[in-house]
């Protein structure tokens, strides 16, 4: 058996086509160098099925296999799914830490310490006002000053308490918005489900759905900020997505199971929002501690101010001054110049109310501090994993330019091979005999 005369043309042609396809892939990579979530692709070249040549002569000839050129076997998407899983785990941590840090920083801002407008300073002013009154127990001005310092202190306690409540309410509201019918979870899950379906169909049609997979991975990255996301790759190419601590998978094939109930254990931004707005969360603890400050303030002052309670209300939200300046008590027996009550109240400085408040502020401060450092740590880890992912999947323009030249040269060489074949065939046809001419 001899070699077909035109086989060389076919081989050169396959080279031209394959190099062209590889250049197309390079073009796609360059075009998407800055596309979020894009993974670089590689056209994997493979030799074609060889032509089997039977043994020509029983004496010297073994059979042979003659190469028939090249073709693109697959368009491979360069992606490391292990890094994706790591990224999503850490991204949930980051989502949680960022939310915690933001909300707690807001709470810290509400306390406005250290400043002359904070509760600590107002409390100190209140005790000082009683000290002034003790020096001039019959002074109407000193009594007015005591009542006004007390009113300001009570107002500030009311305001801080209500602002903490507002922050809690906003956190709950944010959770509702994200998980609601037109929220991010529903929207992203629906897109993942739709992509699942498209990818499944593409695979059935033997088409490699690289770009669809990129888009699906990007959506899963976004979901992982909201809560812990676990992805199981199914045989048909679809992803089954578990979300937070929801009972059912969020996405199963082309089906979306949402809404579902989450708890603070869901992780991510949603877990943090539930934890912060919930009854045992940091903000609720601050409110309780502030109530403790208000209660011990009211209790200690009222115990000494025996004629009529100075403060009403025993929580930070309800505490208020109950007396008029003329009703301020300075002495136990109501004598004009006696000052023992005023002195005793002034001596409450440094007492339980102040100590409780100082330890509350220390608590808020260390909560914010650790939330900030959690955020910075998570950010660093996420950045590091993202760098690794970029290192694997990102487009390097230098690399693509090199590939471009390689494939271009390959294309030129194949074209040259084709020309040589053509010339050889020309020689054969034009210059060997005149039969048929």
């Amino acid at each position: 058996m001899s070699i077909p005369t035109l086989q060389g043309l076919q081989t050169a042609l396959s080279g031209l086509l394959a190099e062209q396809q590889a250049i197309d892939v390079t073009g796609q990579n360059i075009a998407n160098a800055n596309t979020e979530g894009y993974s670089r692709q590689v056209a994997t070249l493979q030799t074609n099925e060889p032509m089997r040549i039977a043994a020509l002569s029983p004496t010297n000839g073994e059979g042979g296999q003659l190469g028939t050129g090249v073709s693109v076997a697959t368009y491979t998407r360069i992606r490391n799914s292990y890094l994706d899983a790591q990224y999503r785990t850490q991204n949930a941590e980051l989502g949680s830490a960022t939310t915690q840090a933001n909300e707690l920083q807001q709470a810290q801002g509400v306390f406005d310490e250290p400043s002359s407008a904070g509760i600590a300073s107002q409390l100190s002013t209140f005790w000082s006002a009683w000290g002034e009154l003790a020096n001039a127990p019959s002074s109407e001005a000193a009594k007015v000053a005591v009542v006004s310092a007390g009113t300001q202190l009570a107002d500030t306690l009311n305001e801080v308490s209500s602002q903490l409540q507002t922050i809690r309410g906003q956190a709950a509201q944010q959770y509702t918005t994200i998980t609601g019918p037109s929220g991010e979870v529903q929207g992203d899950a629906a897109q993942v489900a739709a992509l699942n379906q498209q990818i499944k169909l593409s695979l059935q049609a033997k088409q490699q759905p690289n770009d669809l997979e990129d888009r699906r991975d990007l959506l899963l990255d976004k979901l992982s900020e909201l809560a812990n996301v676990t992805v199981v790759k199914e045989a048909d190419g679809t992803d089954t997505v578990s979300f937070g601590d929801a009972g059912e998978p969020l996405v199963e094939g082309s089906q979306v199971n949402w809404p579902q109930a989450l708890t603070a254990a869901a992780g991510g931004k949603l877990g943090a929002l539930l934890e912060l707005s919930g009854p045992g969360g940091a903000l609720a603890n601050y409110q309780t501690a502030l109530d403790g400050v208000a209660a011990s303030l009211a209790e200690s002052v009222n115990a000494l101010h025996t004629t009529t309670p100075f403060f009403t209300g025993t929580t930070a939200a309800t505490i208020a001054v109950a007396v008029k300046p003329s009703e301020v008590q300075t002495s136990g027996n109501g004598s004009f110049g006696g000052n023992e009550v005023a002195q005793a109240i002034a001596n409450l400085r440094g007492g339980t109310a102040e100590q409780r408040y100082a330890s509350l502020i220390a608590q808020v401060g260390s909560d914010v501090q650790s939330a900030n450092s959690d955020e910075a740590n998570s950010q660093a880890v996420v950045s590091a994993i993202n760098e690794q992912r970029q290192s694997v999947s990102g487009v390097s323009l230098d690399e693509e330019m090199t590939n471009l030249i390689t494939f271009q040269r390959g294309y030129q060489a194949s074209a040259r091979a084709l020309t040589s074949m053509d010339e050889m065939l020309g020689t054969l046809i034009e210059h060997t005999g005149t039969a048929g001419m």
């Binding site: 020096n135 110049g337 002195q343 002034a346 100590q355 808020v364 390097s396």
Partner: protein
């Protein structure tokens, strides 16, 4: 396998470095412009709670200082008044000696008696002295004059004490019980100063040898006893004044210690922050320059024909 470096990685890390350099500079800038290193509780949680306690202690010391100053002024008023009463009583003593020993006609005795009556009114006037609108010898009934001018010698005040707190658990009594020396006059027959003065006047008006003998004898003895009580009252006031002065100097030294502690907790160390700031500026500058040249870096593209 060597790490592939892609364009996104380079740009991302350059941006992160520039951001962190800028954040550090922003922090130093806030410290320099506010003069505080403790801007939020999260900067130093323990320091924040110390700051609250120290600031309150400092405010408390100011209250103590005001109380000490106010108490000292009150005592000064009382002291001046007591020394007036002392001088008046001495003058009465001279008159008593003159009346008891000399050869005096009844009209002379009447003149002496009249002077002693006037001096009695002076004593009551001195007892009615006020500090900042408050009667200092009325106990806690500071809106009531302790003695009326005229015949009645009844004490209108009470036995209450007025204290000034000048330290944790440290109180000083600032009102002197002048009524314990003056008494309530003849109606009470208590042998105190007013009773004695009235009796002397009465005996002088009587003018009999027995009466004059009583003036030079038991009345003079009572007068001396009362002078003694007055002196010891003055000594009490003096002691209280000393106590307040001591307290004041102790408060001042505590104020300076506490202010130093507070400054250590909350104030920025300007020298240190300024140097840090210069370093951060240099780092930021370098990050920007490096970033600019990396982002604009020539790629392979420019070398390909």
């Amino acid at each position: 396998m060597s790490t592939r470096i892609t364009n996104d990685m380079v740009i991302g890390s350059t941006l992160a470095d520039i951001n962190s350099a800028q954040a550090a500079m922003d922090r130093s800038q806030s410290e320099l412009s506010s003069g505080k290193s403790l801007l939020e509780p999260s900067d130093n949680p323990v320091g924040a709670s110390q700051q609250i306690a120290l600031q309150s202690t400092l405010d408390g010391l100011t209250t103590y200082e005001k109380a000490a100053n106010d108490g000292a002024a009150w005592l000064q008023t009382a002291s001046a008044s007591l020394s007036n009463v002392g001088e008046v009583t001495q003058r009465v003593r001279e008159l008593v000696l003159q009346a008891a020993n000399g050869v005096n006609s009844q009209s002379d005795l009447n003149d002496i008696a009249q002077e002693i009556e006037q001096l009695t009114e002076t004593v009551k006037q001195d007892a009615n002295v006020q500090y900042a609108g408050q009667y200092v010898f009325s106990g806690t009934a500071t809106n009531t004059p302790p003695y009326e001018q005229g015949a009645s010698d009844a004490y209108a005040g009470n036995a209450g004490t007025i204290l000034r707190t000048v330290g944790p658990g440290v109180s000083v009594q600032v009102n002197a019980a002048l009524s314990s020396v003056l008494g309530e006059g003849q109606a009470a027959n208590d042998g105190k100063l007013l009773d004695t003065l009235r009796t002397i006047t009465e005996n002088l008006h009587t003018g009999t040898p027995a009466a004059l003998h009583a003036v030079g004898g038991e009345d003079l003895a009572k007068l001396d006893t009362n002078l003694g009580s007055l002196t010891s009252l003055e000594a009490d006031v003096g002691a209280a004044t000393d106590q307040l002065k001591t307290a004041e100097s102790r408060i001042q030294s505590l104020q300076s210690t506490t202010a130093t502690q507070l400054s250590n907790v909350q104030d920025a160390n300007f020298a240190q922050v300024s140097i840090e700031f210069s370093n951060q500026q240099a780092a930021y500058d370098a990050a920007l320059r490096a970033g600019a040249s990396i982002v604009q870096e020539k790629s392979l593209l420019e070398f390909l024909q």
